[in-house]
Amino acid sequence: MGLVSAPVDEPSDTPSSADAERPQRGGPPPTSVGPGEEAYLGTLGFLEESPENKRRARNIGIAYLVAAVVCLVVFARGDGGVSTFGISDDSSFSVAGIPLAWFTAVTLAALGGAQIMRGTGKWTAAAASVAAILFVFTFMAWAAAGQSFSLTGTLQDALKAATPLVLGALAGIMCERSGIINIAIEGLLLSGAFTSALVGSLTNIWIGIVAAMIASCLLALLLAWLAIRFSVDQVIAGFAINFFVLGLTSFLDSRVLTRNPDYNSVKTIGDIEVPILSDIPFIGPILFEQSFYVYTALALVGIIGWALFRTKWGLRTRAVGEHPQAAGTLGVNVIRRRYYNLAMAGAIAGFGGSWWTADVGRFNENITNGRGFIALAVVIVGRWNPFGALLAALLFGFADALALKFSFLGTGIPSEFLEMAPFLVTLVVVASFGRGARPPKALGQPYEQQ
């Protein structure tokens, strides 16, 4: 629930002419920001240690110590095997699990101690990254003890698994930057997956993809219509769409697709090897032996990231999401902008949904399996920025790929736990990095054209 409630910034405040005098709660009139807010820093020149900050520093320190204990108790007690990490077909390196676990434990304990004693200040983020990478690597060495493990393959899978998350998150960003909460990413992805499977089976995958984009676009417009025309609570409207799509696609799956296998069989889209670039060692296979979804998603990140911060469309979209009244009084059509953005977001999510079909060639009940909600977390952790979202999606994709790998390796970790892992990572990451995220100010607030 944490990741679901996080983007709901403030309870929406219905503006009425009667209390125009009253400063809007959480709303944007800059008068309430006051002249002092930023200026205080200038005058005092430093941030005082608030109890909150101290507590936070201590909590991070404790987290390090807990991780160190896990290293000692779990990882340093493996069967002592050496794990081999493959980098390419003919090169690999080996790591002895137990010494690595000891090394990690000592490093984490030292970091934890430093953090509790006096905080790591501006190095906090860097230290956390180092610690996290070390910890994950130790975990991998432990889990893969005595076996060989393809690092390249896992990173390749990570990028692949990140693709629908990136597309879902881009849809979320398009939506939320213009001020409408999009809880319905899951439903939009699922409808894209179903439509592309059905239409793709009857025609071909490319027409299926276009149909998926149209279907999810219409669903997104339904969300926009509920949110804008009727001021329905956007979280509830989004959830309704999710359940509606889940129910409808499950029903059609069992009644139509299962009985007519011809309706659920699509020729998958293979990977495209980029000439020359894919020959680069290590990087090549990871980045340039992928499906066209990966390339398209990366291109979309660049395009939307550029457009959001450099173009007229982006400026207006952000204005509408931050302070719709300001945009409205300058003659920007707030409502039309929101409809347009929702339609585009729907199309992107529909495209993202067709990823499953193009990958496995068919639709299964609830095939998206909560990835739309992880995409929502990606939006938050990526701070409503396409490039940030890409990084966050890669993190989740990595967790996904790792879980998959370990289930093949047969490490003795229960498969249910491995399936749970991406969501666990979501919780931890949102809890630790989601707090500083500042959503668009007008997110979730209905705009009333006066």
């Binding site: 709660r25 800059p30 309430s32 002249p35 109890p51 909150e52 457009a307 931050e322 302070h323 003659g331």
Partner: protein
């Protein structure tokens, strides 16, 4: 250019906000539109700007009737508006805010940033606005933000500029600068509509004054031929008392003492920086300051809503630094909160229920388990009578009352018991002149009964009218603690702007 409003009528459910209003403004003049809160000034301006649509009447520009379907149409017709609550996106730069909606663009809608900066800097220099196009709006003081609003309007080639309560958020010095800008605009041939309820300012800057009362234009006046009292009478419709009548204070011993109070926000910002002062029995201490300089946090710390990092608050010697709001209430301290809708009243509750909101749990309203509603209603009816609350009945939801009457409900609830101290924050914000008079009289009455009174207000006039002693807050510190009879508006204004600091005696 000449802009004329003819017979404008606008009805909202239950109220006629504008009733056959006529108004004309030409380029090169300053028209002041004065009226009380709720007189329909803002509605009228929103019609002029295409945000509302009049039910009757027409807008005529240079003799041609026009329909403004949206602000875009009004902008195209040469009308610009500076709203009371600034319409600026805090996370955007000055230039981004200015060009929004009329962006200079290149290939694929890319914003020509350099071109935008150049244009913004050019207009800024032309009118002496002194703005940096690349500065982030949320880092700028309110006075500068207002200049961005003006620049936005000029950027769109407005001929008529409407200012809605432009001085409400400014320090006295910023108000002077603002008037200089208005003069510059007038000299450049712009027409200006200046909406205000501050009569002094209307008299100071306007060429003509139009008065709006209960949605109707009740007349116009020449500022050279009318004085403040006459204008106030026109505005309210009856003779008004503009000064608070009070005897000389005879303060007793210190009742409410604040010593070295230090408050830090969860983000680590020091909002109250080791402040100390006393409020003595039978004395009104007024806290002056521009909004956002720690006044809100001070009131929260005093009333138990916020715990300080260090320092103490005592009432008659007993420590209430970390007391809960209930304990503060039980220590016989009244609190009139700054935002009545948010923390003073429950809008959906009836007047009677709101009247017992702080005392419902004790005798005689509760016997420990069950509410004694008949007693509560009896008391509420008395208070409504005694404090002149204009309400159809005590069962009317509080949200249906006017701002002034809502405030009177709070004043009645808070001041109608035996008290040691009163903490009143913005006691008359958004309240009509009649209710202001009444609320001020009640506050003075409490003082005369020997209660220690702390009044926090961002309206300097209010502080100066009520206070026996004036404390000025600037950036979380007390920069001056002055006797009212030894200071004046301009001195306090300098302290408010941080231009001056009192040396500890």
């Amino acid at each position: 250019m000449e802009l004329e409003l003819r017979g404008i009528t606008k009805r909202f459910p239950g109220v006629v906000a504008n009733d056959d209003v006529n108004l004309t403004v030409r380029t090169g003049e300053v028209l002041a539109l004065v009226g009380e809160n709720g007189a329909g000034k803002s509605t009228l301006m929103n019609i002029m700007y295409g945000l509302y649509h009049a039910d009757e009447g027409e807008i005529v520009v240079d003799g041609t009737p026009q329909t403004f379907a949206s602000p875009g149409d009004a902008i195209a017709a040469g009308i610009g508006m500076v709203h009371q609550h600034f319409m600026l996106v805090p996370v955007f730069t000055v230039a981004e805010n200015v060009v929004l909606g009329v962006e200079p663009t290149g290939f694929l809608g890319r914003i020509e940033r350099d071109e935008a900066h150049r244009q913004v800097a050019e207009i800024s220099a032309q009118y002496g606005l002194d703005l940096d196009p690349e500065a982030l709006v949320e880092t700028l003081p309110v006075g500068i933000q207002q200049r961005i609003e003006i620049l936005k309007v000029l950027f769109r080639n407005a001929e008529i500029v409407v200012f809605d309560e432009p001085t409400a958020v400014l320090t006295p010095q910023e108000i002077e600068e603002f008037f200089n800008i208005v003069d510059a605009l007038k000299a450049a041939g712009k027409g200006i509509v200046f909406i205000t309820h501050k009569l002094k300012e209307a008299l100071r800057i306007a060429d003509r004054i139009s008065v709006l009362r209960r949605g109707k234009t009740v007349g116009s006046a020449d500022p050279k031929e009318i004085n403040e009292v006459q204008l106030a009478e026109m505005m309210v419709g009856r003779p008004v008392q503009l000064v608070v009548e009070k005897e000389h204070a005879e303060p007793g011993p210190a009742t409410l003492s604040v010593d070295d109070l230090h408050v830090v926000t969860p983000e680590g910002r020091s909002v109250l920086d080791h402040i100390s002062f006393d409020v003595r029995a039978g004395e009104i201490v007024g806290v002056a300051g521009v909004q956002g300089n720690g006044q809100t946090e001070l009131v929260e710390a005093l009333t138990g809503l916020r715990d300080p990092v260090s320092g103490t608050v005592t009432i008659d010697g007993s420590d209430i630094t970390t007391a809960t709001p209930r304990e503060v209430h039980d220590a016989r301290i009244a609190h009139i909160p700054e935002d009545r809708q948010r923390s003073g009243l429950v809008g959906a509750f009836s007047v009677a229920e709101n009247m017992v909101l702080t005392s419902y749990a004790s005798e005689p309203f509760s016997s420990g388990f069950l509410m004694n509603w008949s007693k509560a209603r009896e008391v509420a009816a008395e208070l409504v009578e005694q404090y002149d609350v204009r309400t159809p009945s005590i069962d009317t939801p509080a949200s249906n009352l006017s701002g002034g009457n809502q405030q009177k409900v709070i004043v009645a609830r808070e001041l109608s018991r035996e008290l040691r101290a009163v903490i009143a924050s913005q006691p008359t914000r958004g309240v009509d002149v009649g209710s202001i008079e009444y609320i001020h009289a009640q506050i003075v009455k409490a003082r005369d009964e020997g209660v220690a009174v702390l009044v926090v207000s961002t309206e300097l006039d209010e502080v100066m009218a009520l206070a026996d002693r004036v404390v000025v807050m600037y950036r979380g510190r007390i920069v001056a603690n002055l006797r009212r009879d030894e200071t004046d508006h301009s001195e306090v204004g300098l302290f408010m702007a941080g231009a001056k600091e009192q040396q500890p005696a």
